[in-house]
Symmetry: C2
Subunit: 121 residues, 2 copies
DNA sequence: TTCTGATATGATGACTTTATAAAGTCACTA
DNA sequence: TAGTGACTTTATAAAGTCATCATATCAGAA
């Protein structure tokens, strides 16, 4: 009753998907891409304010997890969401968050949904 | 055009939500809880095969991020999802994953959705 | 070919998360 | 009140993630 061998790796894969989403800049990038058909890296640099190499690393994480795809046309690289469902996921997360936040206000335990009071900058 | 001060912390909060989901055991726990109204820790220990203290740490992460709530009745502690939307999120993730996996099979780039080939145990 | 702009990759230090073991708390019973 | 079962917290080493800087690649201009 404890292990279903077939199921176990799936938890890992699922957790990895969320790992891909577990950084503010990556969320930012995905939300930018959710609103357009595609975007060149240069646009994302100016939209996020990130240094090119830093952004590039996050983009490579997103590529590795299969959340975005890129295409080079001339010297410009364009990115877009690999699947429209990625946008769905962000939207469901948004809905959940607004619940979470409302709830935390109601209960004035305003630290909810934050990583632990001490680690919020 | 680069920063919207009001929006920025939201990316952080959203990323934190995904961080809470970014571990196989926590996904496992949430899926267990998604299927019942509540579950005692002892059930989750046997369902996951985890050592009590290890499970407890993951439960505390989930509590900290506001994804689950616990209640002690006599000497048993019961957990349940803090919001039904948590189950929605998992379900959307599942749908996205099945797309991702199908797609990666079609393109025989079977490493998709995995953390980077080298870090898969 | 060499230069340049646009990205990507690699290396490194700072920091955070995870897994394991040991100690602690809480509620109940003998 | 001592003991026990059910958890939780603390401590710590190992592994992983992030930000920064230097270097590399790629495509078009000179």
């Amino acid at each position: 009753m404890a292990f279903e061998n077939d199921e176990r790796p799936l938890y890992e894969i699922k957790a990895n998907l969320f790992k891909g989403l577990a950084h503010p800049y990556r969320i930012r990038v995905l939300e930018i891409l959710a609103g357009v058909s595609e975007a060149p890296v240069s646009d994302m640099i100016s939209a996020t304010g990130l240094e090119a190499s830093h952004l590039s690393q996050h983009l490579s994480v997103l590529r590795r997890y299969g959340l975005v795809v890129s295409e080079r046309r001339a010297s410009v690289v364009y990115y877009r969401l690999a699947f429209p469902q990625v946008a769905d996921l962000l939207q469901v997360a948004r809905a959940l968050l607004s619940e979470l936040l409302q709830d935390s206000q109601r209960h004035q335990s305003s630290a909810l949904a934050l990583p632990a009071i001490s680690s919020v900058r």
